[in-house]
Symmetry: C2
DNA sequence: TACTATATAGGGCTTACTCTTATATTCTTA
DNA sequence: TAAGAATATAAGAGTAAGCCCTATATAGTA
């Protein structure tokens, strides 16, 4: 059943996260775990503010600063990353598998997508010599269907 | 001779820019022209602040707000774009030909590069139906040589 | 259980950017 | 070419994200 699988998946990720913290000399705190859980529980590439709101359902006293700090920490230890893009409030992604993003320049929505040729692009050797590459992604920008429909009045 | 070609190229771009302004019902002001010129005169993906400094060599009284506003205007009329990436101060690019970016997460440097297979990626049909795509780029993130050298102490 | 190192909450601070308004400039049309 | 209408600019105040500081709290450990 789907739900059961999902729960197992989350449990596994949480276990991995705790290990990752320990390996990096970081304490496993309820706040950290909750932020991580909130992040992997959505595919909306949320802002710190948004994550904070979610986490406060469990830990009502968590501060926005802690959420911010924690999200940066997650990125540092490789448990998440900051989404590329151009918006003001920084956005995060807990999806570590290779995938691509489309961003709507009207509403700011960021949509995940997969496409074999993009997921599997190979970095050419001359660049590998020049840079130590840690992330690669195909980034598309434009207008989503909702916004297209709304605008054309 | 290189210099002469460069000058002709700039002249052509400026002419095109003025046309683009008029077609969009925008007045051609010294400030706008200067901001545009500054932007196409660099490949460093500058911030508004940086552009402002450059422009002030010509127009010492230009305000940072005008530079900001103008850069956004350039993006709106398609004479430039905001660079994807994750940094705080927004950065701009006047290079409209297909090209890709590498961004160093240590020093924030953004480097242009070309690679045929990346420059020519085709957007799959199922995405074209879903989104109106206005820009595509391969975005790489990592650590540049300078920062690699510095860090490994 | 007690100790040490690290994390958090809260609040103030900084900085990039946006908004407002009075003045200046472009562009049009007579 | 002069005058008028529409738009742009400069300056400064306002806003919001996120960073920094410090006293208190908590996790890991012995
Ligand atoms: Mn994603
Ligand atoms: Mn570029
Ligand atoms: Zn949209
Ligand atoms: Zn670097």
């Amino acid at each position: 059943m789907r739900e059961v699988m999902k729960k197992m998946d989350i449990e596994m990720k949480l276990r991995g996260f705790e290990d990752r913290c320990r390996h990096n000399g970081l304490k496993v705190t309820p706040q950290r775990t909750a932020v991580y859980k909130a992040l992997i529980g959505t595919d909306t590439h949320p802002t710190a503010e948004k994550v904070c709101k979610i986490v406060r359902q469990d830990i009502s006293s968590i501060s926005l600063d802690t959420v911010n700090r924690t999200l940066l920490t997650l990125a540092e230890i490789g448990a998440a990353f900051q989404v590329e893009g151009t918006g003001q409030p920084r956005r995060f992604d807990g999806g570590l598998e290779d995938h691509q993003h489309f961003r709507c320049i009207k509403c700011g929505k960021i949509v995940d997508f997969h496409y074999e040729p993009f997921d599997n692009i190979e970095i050419p050797v001359h660049l590998q010599g020049q840079f130590q590459i840690m992330r690669k992604t195909v980034y598309l920008e434009g207008i989503c269907q909702t916004c297209s429909a709304t605008t054309s009045s």
